[in-house]
Symmetry: D2
Subunit: 329 residues, 4 copies
């Protein structure tokens, strides 16, 4: 069963990463060709997720397509750049500036075209700059209507091209408060704008919001089968540390993999990390290896046994399961 | 305009409060008659919110009604007891035990009858025990369906009696994870079950979930005009400390009072605190005095000026506003 | 090497536990004799930690001693009750009331005598009520001097009886701010008052303060070899959930067990949980089984290999170690 | 009394600021000469705090000195760059690489010389890269000894030049865990290395660690009079948002200004913000205006009245004080 799982990595994870104190980045800038080759060499990875501007533009689309084909890699998703340019600094899809909103929609449309060119039928929207930093500075009603209108315009264009859109939520960063903040509020927006719009869960974003990802997956199943995409990383619960999967948590990943199977999630398992000081390729590879190992664990145990376990509703039994089935002696 | 605001207090706030280390409570147990008299003596308070079992039962309803009438107090709301008895310990409305679920619905129906008897048209549901503590112990899909079915049953009964229900969300405590956890997921449930079901915002619960209450109010307005009730208290952001309103925050309260006016919220402003070591009556009174003072501030400034301010979308202008209009020199 | 480890449980963990919403508790009250028998039946447990007032008083000391002897159990520690009586509600060792401070010291002295009677040479001080709830209500300098004076008085009495004292820190609860809040500030106090005073780490309290317990252990080693006692439990990082060890975390426990060995910690490994809705004995037993399993893992791997690993300072290598040595396939 | 307060700003606050998503920054890069002129134009500001590499180097020291003199500005502090270059990426003062540690000390020595050249007697050390990201990757004992040795070497050089050093703590970012994480652990290090080494409190870093700054100030007074420097900014408690002072909090600032006066703090009040999307000069100016307004409030009320208030230890009285003395009607 785990054979059917499609693993993907975000290309930029393999390259240089920066923060606000070291804006030139912690490592050397890698050549994109090299990064694609590295991604292709990770066992089990068959997809690449591309970030607009950083990884993919209209100009390099043909070239990137060729490189992906050479390595037999699919483009799993394109993340539209609504966060990495000065013009988006005060908002993109919900910007107070109608011109910027139009540009943000246009940017999306272009990336939909690029996706189609790359034989990719999924687009990830993470409107990281759409939100606010301070209280008493924002008209939330006006902004939310603008946001929905912009997303609806994107969704309409995407529908015509048979492209699905996943809205990726994150409670904060780069704004202190984002509009697509948590699973349920993003679901409310998705349900408002069209059948081809769903939700992307980034595990770290969910942990940051004190969500239990297994429960979030179940909620999206229940209210419209709206889980469209998954980003994987780990963290210490209070910030989007974007760490290697399994470096902090174990039980929650086992639970979420169970729920992904049980809800018959068909999308990609895409790695989304910021290995500031680590070897990028190896850091991403570690995450894939961890998830594949847990899939073996699930195969060994069987879905029925886990269902029996959760129906016991007994933490003592679950702890015995952890000791006996998950951890070595 | 602020004259129209209806202030209420939760009766139990005036009495003894306990925690897990001092289960007999920090203060002496007060007589209910005395507590009602104290509540009535707080300037501006015209309503009392009653907690099932603790404050109100079918047996004492007639007597409580009489006492409220003597003091010209309305019953603003009844909070059904789905949390304070051993039988609810592992869940009430979403319990795995069908018998317990039936009891939880029946308890609600009885309180609806009591509400009607007390001329009160609003019931608050805070299903604090409905959730889970550990990962890998729970079938979230099954539980959520049960939860919705139970709430729907309550809502149907309430509708027949012309009673509205507010679902009060809280991310955690007493469970490590609650099913009605945040504003948007609770709205999803409310929208599923009936027009007479909406959401109760407890300000401290919202702070705990890193929500900006002004934004949550706007969201409830937008997706169905679903804000039915307000509980007020303050905290240090990471736990439901249930402190005196205004002891920690200022700007966020000003913003939320603005949004309550702007969205034409018609419900009660009810104080919900745990003054463990303080004089209960005075602690609650402090909160009312703080909110009434901020209403005066809003009256002085005017809604238009605040709208202008938030449309500037300039934190520097907002900070000038804070210094000039909110804080003394 | 792991054979030398002394496991202990806090007696009350096996009984009924309450919270502020269900003050009568989630379970039935167990007979103390029964609880001691249950504790004795947990494989590997040779010690019992007793809570003043709740478990042990001057009056029942002789009887408890006899019961412990019958079960060949040692008293690992007595936790002085500075939190569970109304008189401590606004502070005990640092109370503004000199009479209360004297009582808090006297209570400690009595428990030192009881400890001696029970052949126990360690006392745990958790001054949970010493702190404050609101800003601008407290003279921190005065309070801290009072706190140190009280602890010094306790330490002097304890020294004469050859009893050591561990100061247990916790950032908050039941106060919003405690005086002994984190590892380092508690170390500062310990170093101020005497050689027989050190620090107790409760793992959950450390997680709550965003401490990495392995690092806290190293810090206490470095600044005076001051780790005197360990309390074990797990949580979701933002509150003292007092859960079964290993239900949430794995890697951090492996790391801390490594550091306990490396720093040659000689004290007890005592379980401190609140199994509100679980079978108390089984919940505590689960924690002991988890820790004993991890000790086997450490024995298998060897201290040298872990030292080599941490000297690689490479998260990718550590993640390979997690997959290969800690987790099953 | 407030006239004696020395306000300062970190120069870079006035310029362009970036984050990991928008590494080129949200605004245009400002000319340093222009930034100094802007800083000088803020009423009440008489000092400039300079960041190594970014603002000040050995090469531009003479020129900067001249510009400061032209504007009658003092250099309040130099923050040594131990965070903004690739070579510090895995640590500086505690690096596993002896060569890097030597460079980090040498960098400090050079900045001490520059400070002397600028007639500045204070140096701020914020070793942001000294810490770790993952568990089970680090030898905390070895690292902490290295850290102390490096700081001791810096302190020795500084003592000879009559320069004092403030160690600035921050729980996390850019590492998930920093070695100088909280007030007390930094105090332990300061006390270990020399009389000319103390602690810098950044208010936002303290909020992030759930510290009450008033209490931290009192603690530093008590254990050696070790508060050497203050950085001011505001945030939403769970991250170093570096916002305008007073945009979120009020009461905690009043309390900390009280404690700064009471403990006779003589150092600078330096603004440290990241006004990503705001006008830099105006954002910093807002903070200064807020603090100066609160000083007026303190002057009006008087230290004795506040001492009386805190000695009442009554949150109800404090809330009355907030309503009557701090907030307008």
């Amino acid at each position: 069963m785990s054979n059917a799982i499609k693993y993907s990595v975000i290309l930029g994870n393999l390259g240089n990463t920066c923060d606000r104190f070291l804006s030139s980045g912690y490592k050397d800038v890698l050549d994109k060709t090299e990064m694609i080759a590295q991604a292709a060499s990770i066992e089990g990875v068959t997809g690449i997720e591309l970030v607009g501007t950083w990884d993919i533009t209209r100009d390099n689309a043909a070239q990137v397509k060729k490189q992906l084909q050479q390595h037999k890699l699919q483009c799993s998703s394109i993340i539209v750049d609504h966060f990495g340019q000065k013009r988006w600094g005060r908002g993109a899809l919900a910007s107070a500036d109608a011109g910027i909103r139009a540009e943000a929609v246009e940017e999306t449309r272009q990336m939909i075209d690029v996706a189609v060119e790359l034989d990719c039928d999924f687009l990830n929207l993470w409107p990281g700059q759409d939100g606010y930093d301070y209280a008493l500075c924002t008209d939330y009603l006006v902004d939310r209507h603008r946001m929905i209108d912009s997303i609806a315009a994107c969704a309409e264009y995407a529908a015509a091209k048979k492209v699905r859109i996943g809205l990726e939520y994150k409670m904060k960063e780069p704004r202190t408060h984002s509009y697509l903040a948590r699973c349920a509020d993003t679901l409310l927006v998705a349900n408002q704008v069209g059948a081809n719009v769903g939700v992307t869960i980034d595990t770290g974003h969910a942990f940051l919001a004190y969500e239990n990802v297994g429960e979030s997956i179940a909620m999206l199943k229940m209210f419209g089968d709206k889980l469209f995409h998954m980003h994987f990383n780990d963290n210490y619960s209070s910030w989007d540390d974007d760490m290697i999967v399994g470096s902090v948590r174990l039980v929650e990943y086992v639970e979420m993999l169970y729920w992904l199977r049980r809800t018959e999630y068909k999308g990609w398992y895409s790695m989304d990390q910021y290995p500031y000081r680590e070897d990028g390729k190896k850091a991403v590879e570690s995450s894939v290896m961890f998830l594949r190992q847990l899939e073996k664990v699930l195969n060994r145990i069987g879905m029925d046994e886990i269902e029996k376990l959760i129906n016991r509703r007994d933490p003592v039994a679950t702890c015995a399961f952890i000791r006996n089935e998950l951890i070595r002696s």
